[in-house]
């Protein structure tokens, strides 16, 4: 569904991604791990067209999208839950959701998607007129997720959706990710610091280090999943000590 081929991305003269090859299979959950500053967010920004790769190709459903602008890419069916949620703080919950649906003209479909959001997270329904800036962190994360889903994406990019949340909420978010994936068949590219949980639900796992993929595993290859988990957790432990 999504493929990055030899992608290289720069900020000015600083190279952030190098020779990046990655695939997210249709209907799968792909997980991208990496420590702070590895280039995970940059990968997502490259996919969504906020930064342009200086080399390589980004393919979506077999077509190149790296030469399109962001609205065109979103139009193709890619939506994003950005790092840090980025809800519009002075707009109401419902207005935030409506902005997520800016690609859809059909009022009935928008209405249906709104109801679906409120069904997914009833708390949002209870607060639909509240301005998003006064929601709790967890509620904002729910809103950011539903806002992305409003466009009925084929591919959902999620940048650290569990960051800063209490364990019970993290579980709710992960359950929802699985649900979106299983029930709607939405392909998911998930960036996480929470490696253990992410690996548990992932079909593919990539580990990014200093802008390069250093490890990957796919499918039922549980052994390599374990290896990644060990290596990754080990490394994180190393850093913490």
């Amino acid at each position: 569904m999504l493929a990055l081929k030899n992608v290289m991305t720069h900020y000015g003269s600083i190279r952030v991604l190098r020779n990046m090859n990655m695939t997210a299979g249709k209907g799968e959950i792909t997980c991208l791990l990496g420590s702070n500053g590895a280039g995970k967010t940059t990968t997502i920004k490259t996919i969504i067209g906020l930064v342009k790769p200086s080399e390589g190709e980004v393919l979506f459903e077999g077509q190149r999208i790296d030469n399109l602008n962001t609205p065109q890419i979103v139009q193709k069916g890619i939506a994003i839950v950005p790092e840090g949620r980025r809800v519009f703080p002075k707009l109401s919950v419902e207005d935030n959701l409506l902005i997520g649906a800016c690609m859809i003209d059909d009022k009935k479909r928008i209405e249906k998607n709104l109801l679906k959001s409120y069904e997914l997270f009833p708390r949002l329904g209870e607060r639909k007129t509240q301005v998003a800036g006064t929601l709790s962190g967890g509620e904002q994360q729910m809103l950011a997720m539903c806002r992305a889903l409003m466009s009925e994406p084929k591919l959902l990019l999620m940048d650290e959706p569990s960051l800063g949340l209490a364990p019970i909420l993290i579980k709710e978010i992960f359950d929802t990710i699985v649900r979106i994936n299983k029930e709607d068949g939405t392909t998911i590219l998930l960036i996480e610091q929470n490696a253990h949980k992410a690996i548990a639900i992932a079909d593919r796992v990539y580990v990014l280090q200093k802008g390069e993929i250093v490890m990957e595993s796919h499918g039922e290859d549980t052994l390599s999943k374990e290896r990644i988990e060990n290596a990754y957790l080990h490394k994180t432990v190393d850093k913490a000590v």
């Binding site: 979103v74 519009f88 800016c102 466009s151």
Partner: protein, 308 residues
């Protein structure tokens, strides 16, 4: 103090405030969507007045000025707003957009440059443009006299039209998707892009709206004072900017309130402080300086701008 004098001044202040508000709204809209302080905006007001004058000229010989003056008035306003709205769009598209991302100082100089071009352009190319131009009286002279308070038709029209524009703007911003996108862009431009909003389109649209409102103010100025001049945009630009700062740059309602507040302060200074009319124009600047020093977020606590 005579009560009816106060009311009279209040009405005069509302008239003045209406014009300021129409200009201030543009400043706040532009700042909201692209953090730009557009010093060419005052010239759009002047341009609106001149386009209005030219449009009035078309009706001069027809007798319609006398028989259908309300219709003429609306046509003049609409033509001025459309032409100036397009001028605003062209400025945004051709000059401001290519420079997006440049430093704030650069952008400031750029809009100042544009303002000089427009101002001098009108002076040079409008026939006898260096001199004041008479703007015909569109209203058959007249007024309503309510218990000693004189309400001129012009004033009723200026205030009424400004309120109508405020209402339409309110509906646009809060009830339509374009308004929602404008708000989203002003709160988090990158997030708005990530959602797939075509921000360039919305930014151009914002310039059309802001410029059209400013031009309406210019036409009001012409029909109220019956005289316009190529350099009228300079002072109004600074006053509109002041009003927007007082209300909190980026806050639409703040700009409207700021515009009326400035109108009131100026009118009352002129009316009730001995010799105050000489200082009328200074008041705006004094207030804006006070706000910048003590409350840069304005009365409505808009995002404090660390920009200029």
């Amino acid at each position: 103090m005579d009560f009816s004098v106060v009311i009279q001044q209040l009405i005069n202040a509302l008239t003045l405030g209406s014009m300021y508000s129409l200009v201030a709204v543009g400043f706040t809209l532009f700042f909201g969507v692209i953090d730009l302080i557009n010093f060419a905006h005052g010239e759009i007001y002047m341009l609106g007045a001149f386009v209005g004058l030219i449009t009035v000229g078309f009706f001069a010989g027809t007798g319609m000025l006398a028989s259908h003056f309300i219709l003429v008035l609306f046509i003049v306003l609409i033509v001025a707003m459309v032409v100036s709205g397009l001028a605003g769009a062209i400025i945004e598209r051709a000059i401001i957009r290519p420079m997006r991302g440049a430093s704030d100082l650069m952008m400031l100089l750029l809009t100042l440059g544009v303002s000089i071009i427009i101002r001098e352009g009108v002076m040079i190319f409008y026939p006898n443009g260096a001199n004041p131009q008479a703007f015909p009286d569109l209203f058959p002279g007249g007024s309503v006299n309510l218990m000693g308070i004189v309400l001129k038709y012009e004033q009723m029209f200026v205030i009424g039209f400004a309120l109508l524009m405020v209402l339409l703007l309110h509906v646009l911003v809060n009830k339509t998707k374009y308004g929602r996108y404008m708000l989203a862009i002003s709160q988090d431009r990158e997030a708005a892009m990530m959602m797939g909003i075509d921000i360039n389109k919305i930014i151009t649209f914002t310039f059309i709206v802001g410029s059209a409102l400013g031009a309406a103010g210019g036409v009001m100025n012409g029909m109220y004072y019956n005289i316009i001049k190529f350099n009228m945009g300079f002072l109004i630009g600074i006053k509109g900017f002041s009003a927007a700062v007082v209300g909190g740059l980026g806050n639409i309602y703040g700009a409207i309130v700021g515009g009326f507040l400035l109108g009131f302060l100026e009118m009352f200074a002129a009316a009730f402080i001995p010799g105050g009319s000489q200082y009328q124009d200074v008041i705006g600047f004094a207030i804006v300086i006070l706000f910048l020093v003590f409350k840069p977020s304005g009365i409505f606590n808009e995002k404090v701008y660390e920009k200029v």
